[in-house]
Amino acid sequence: MLFVLLLAPAAFLLLFFYFPLGSVLVGGLTDRSGRFSLAVITSLLGDPYYLRIIGFTVWQAILSTLLSVLMGLPGAYLLARYDFRGKRLIQALTTVPFVLPSIIVVLGFVRFFGNNGILNRFLMSLFGLSEPPLRILYSLQAILLAHAFYNFPVVVRIVSSLWRRIHPSTEEAARSLGAHGLRLFWRVTLPQILPALLSAAALVFIFCLLSFAIVLVLGGGPRYTTLEVEVYRLAKVSLDLKTGSALALVGAMISLLFLYAYIKLQQRSSFAERMTEEVERPRLGSMLGSLRGVVYLLYLLFMALVILAPMITVVAYSFQLRSGWGQQAISLEWYRRILSGGPYLRAVANSLFFACMTMLLSLPLGTILAYVGARSRFAGGRVVEAVMMLPIGISSIILGLGYLKAYQQLPWRIVGSWYAIVFAHTVIAYPFVIRVASATFRKIKSSLAEAASSLGAGPWRLFWYLELPLARSALITGAAFAFGISVGEINASLMLYNERLITIPVMVYRLIGSYNFIGACAMGSVLMLFCFLAFLIIDRAGGEVG
C-alpha cells in the first residue's frame, strides 16, 4: 500500500525535478562526443583551486550550522516550555528573516553593523570616538552572523515543534532521581529532541552550503568563495554549462553525502516515545524575578539585536527620500507608489499566490514521502530518503536552467507559465516538509498504532485520526517554511517569469538595478509585513502555539 501512495509524488518529481535536472547535469557527465565520461569531474577534483573552495564551503557551512543551533536551541526551549504574551507574534517575527532576499540582508547588515552603520555611529557619538570601534563585517565572523540570522528560525521552529509534543514525564522522573541542569539536558532532554535537532541542522547546513552573495560580500571578497559562486560564474557568466553542471554535480554529491550520514544518524538516535497533544507550560512572566528569568531576558534581548535590528534598519531606510545618511525628512513616497497599484501590487499578489500554491503542493508531497520514509523497512530506504532531499542541495540556478533546457521542445510553453514557477518552488520547498515531518513520525510510539489497529482502525483511519494530528505542529512548521521559501525564491523565478508573473524578490532586484535602493527597501518591508501576517495566519489556522 505504501508504494501505491508513492506513485503521485514520484511522477511529479520525475517530471519536474529529475528530468529537467538530468537534462542539464548530463553535460557534466559526458565528453564532447556525448559519451559518458567522468573527465570533467575528475579534472575539477584535481584542481587545487576547486579543492580549496570545496573545503572552505563545507567548513563555513559546519561553523554556521553550529552557531545557528547554539543560538536557536534556547529559543526553541522557551517556545516549547513556556507561555508568554506575544509568543505567537515572536514566533512569526523570527521566521521572517528566512524569506529575505540576500541583497536586502546585506543592506540591512551593512547599515546596522557596518563601519558606518547605526551601531558604530551610536558608539562613536557616545564615547566621542573618531574611528568606528566595532569591525564586525568583512570577516568570517560576519558570514557566520548573517547565516545565523537567516537560519536561526529554522532551528527554533523545527526543534520547538517536536519539543512541545514530548511528554515531560521522562524529564520529571530524571529530576526526581537527582538529575539537574546540564546533566539533565545532556542525558535526558537532548536524546529526546535529537531527531528534530538533526533535521534542523541538516537543513541549515545545506542552506549554508549553497550560500553565495552573503559569503562573498560580508566575508570581504574572493578570499571567502563558496562552490555556488563558481557555479554561478560558469553557468551564467562564462556560459560554460558543461563545467558548471559538473561542479553542480560535485556540490550535489557533497550534499547527498552529508544527508545520508545525517539520516543514518537520525535513525540511530530516534526512539519512539509517548507524544502528547500539548504539554502544560508555565508562564514566563512569573519567572522574571529569578536569576533564570533574567538569563532568559538577556537571551531575548541579544536575539532582538541580531534578528530584529537589521530588519528594522531596512524598514527605517524605506522611509527616506534620498540615499545616504544625514538629516532627512520622513517620506511615504515609495509606499504611495506601491499602493498606487500597477506592477508593485501585481508582484505582491503573484508572490502570495505562488506561495499558497507551493504550500498546497509541497505539504501533501512532503508528508507522504516523510510518512513512507519513516514507516518503510526496506534496506535501501536511507539512500532513497537522501535522494528525495536532493532538491535543496541543488543550486536553483541549475534547476532554472534545467527547466529552460528540458521543456523547450514541447509544443506549449511551460516556461513563462505560472505553474512552472509553482512547480520549481515546490521542488525547492518540499524537502523542508519531509524533514520536519519525518522527525515527528519517527517519534510516534508504535504501540499507539497497534492499540488503534486492535480496536479496528484501518491504516487510513490510523493515519488521519492518530498520526497526522500528532504531526500537526511539525506540518504547520513545514507549511510555513514552504510558504517562506516560495516567497523569497529568486534564482529560478528570474529565469522562469515574465511581466505578468513578476514576484516581490524580482521586483526588489529590479529596483536595486535601477538605483532605487529605497524603493527596494520599501518593497522588502512589504515582503516582511506580508510574510509576518502569513506566518501568523498559518499558525492560527493550524491551531499552533498556546
Binding site: 563601519n115 562573498l216 551564467k236 499566490f353 498546497l360 489556522a541 493550524g542
Partner: protein, 348 residues
C-alpha cells in the same frame, strides 16, 4: 478530540485554497486582456525591460510606427540573454537578443547564434562605436566604467588608476567580482589594458584599499550610498541619476589619467528568427532619435547617435578624453586565464 485536530489541518488547507484563489483572481484582474500574437519577440536584460528601463517608452513607439505587436521578455542579466539564445539555438523562440557588449561579442560570434544585418542607419554612427564589423551585433548605446566618489566623505579624490593604490584610501574602495559581475569584469580588463600582463602587481598594491569585493554592481552601489566606503566602481553616468532624481550633486564620477574603460552595448538578430523582416525594422529603429533619446535617463548610457542631445543632468556624466578597450578576440582567448590568476592574487 482527535477529530478536531484533524479538522484544524483541513482548515489550514481550506484557508490556503481560498487565499490562493483570491490571489489568482487578483492576478488575473490586474493582467491586461489577452494580447494578440506577437509579431516580434525580443530577449532583453531585466533592467531594460523594467518600469524604469527604456522598454516601456520605446516599445510602444515602435508598435505604433509599424502597427505591430512586440513581446519583450526579460531573461535576467545580459549574460543570461546570450545563454538563453545558445540554449534555444535549435528552436529559436525569439527574433532579437539585446545586451551583447564588446566584452561578450566574441562569445556570441563563436556560438554562431546571430545573423548579419547592416542597417543603413549605421552611416550616422561614429566608426569607433561600430564594434562588430561582421554586423551581427548593432550598437545602441555606450558608457564608461568609472569610480564614483562621495564628495562629502572624501577630499582630494584620486586622479589616476595608479593613485587608487595610495595608502590614504585604505579600505575605502568597493569593487565587484569579475567572476559574477560585468562592471567587475570591465575593471579587470581595464587594469589589463593599462598594465598589460603586470596587472596582478597592480592588484597587489590595490588590495589593501579594497573594503570588499561584491558579487554584483547593485550590492556595491547600495553599500556605497549607505556610506560604507566613499568610492565605488560604477559608471560615469551614475552621478547624473542623483542629480536627476535626488537633486544632489554630492556623488561625482572620476575620469582617470590612463583613460576609462569603454563598454558598448548592442543587439542582434537570431539565426532562424521567426520574424526576420520585423526584426530588421527594429534594428533600423534603434538607431533613430525615437529610440536613442530615451536611452540616457532610462538605461543610464550615452546614445550612439551623436545627433541626439543628452539631458541637462548629464553634465555630471563626464566623458573621458581617452577610452580604453581590449580586442574582443584577445578577451575570448585569455579571459579565463586572467580571471583565474586574479582570483589567486586577491585570495591571498
Amino acid at each position: 478530540m482527535y477529530k478536531t485536530r484533524s479538522n484544524r489541518l483541513s482548515r489550514l488547507l481550506a484557508a490556503s485554497v481560498a487565499l490562493a484563489a483570491l490571489f489568482a483572481a487578483a492576478t488575473v484582474a490586474a493582467t491586461p486582456v489577452a494580447e494578440t500574437e506577437a509579431q516580434l519577440v525580443i530577449y532583453a536584460y531585466d533592467s531594460f525591460v523594467s518600469e524604469w528601463g527604456p522598454a516601456p517608452l520605446v516599445i510602444p513607439k515602435f508598435e505604433e510606427l509599424h502597427d505591430t505587436n512586440v513581446e519583450i521578455i526579460s531573461v535576467g542579466d545580459a549574460g543570461q540573454v546570450l545563454n538563453r539564445a545558445i540554449l534555444e539555438k535549435d528552436h529559436p523562440k525569439a527574433d532579437i537578443i539585446l545586451g551583447i557588449d564588446n566584452n561578450m561579442l566574441s562569445r556570441a560570434l563563436e556560438e554562431g547564434v546571430l545573423q548579419s544585418y547592416r542597417s543603413s542607419n549605421l552611416d550616422a554612427i561614429p566608426e569607433q562605436l561600430i564594434f562588430d564589423r561582421s554586423y551581427a551585433v548593432t550598437p545602441f548605446d555606450y558608457g564608461y566604467f568609472a569610480f564614483v566618489y562621495d564628495s562629502e566623505a572624501l577630499e582630494n579624490p584620486p586622479k589616476s588608476l595608479e593613485q587608487l593604490t595610495d595608502p590614504r584610501f585604505r579600505k575605502r574602495i568597493i569593487v565587484q567580482d569579475p567572476r559574477t559581475s560585468s562592471p567587475g569584469l570591465g575593471f579587470l580588463l581595464w587594469t589589463i589594458a593599462v598594465y598589460g600582463e603586470q596587472y596582478l602587481e597592480y592588484w597587489k598594491r590595490l588590495q589593501p584599499n579594497l573594503l570588499t569585493i561584491t558579487d554584483g554592481w547593485d550590492t556595491a552601489y547600495g553599500m556605497f550610498t549607505s556610506g560604507e566606503a566613499p568610492m565605488v566602481l560604477s559608471y560615469t553616468t551614475s552621478p547624473a541619476y542623483h542629480v536627476e532624481y535626488e537633486q544632489t550633486e554630492r556623488y561625482r564620477a572620476l575620469l582617470f589619467k590612463e583613460g576609462n574603460y569603454l563598454q558598448i552595448e548592442g543587439m542582434g538578430i537570431l539565426k532562424g528568427a521567426p520574424h526576420p523582416g520585423m526584426a530588421r525594422k527594429f534594428i533600423d529603429f534603434i538607431l533613430t532619435e525615437e529610440f536613442q533619446s530615451e536611452i540616457p535617463l532610462t538605461n543610464w548610457m550615452y546614445p550612439v547617435n551623436p545627433e541626439v542631445p543628452t539631458p541637462d543632468s548629464f553634465r555630471f556624466a563626464p566623458k573621458p578624453e581617452g577610452s580604453l578597450q581590449l580586442p574582443a578576440e584577445e578577451i575570448r582567448k585569455n579571459r579565463d586565464r586572467w580571471i583565474n590568476a586574479w582570483v589567486k592574487q586577491v585570495s591571498r
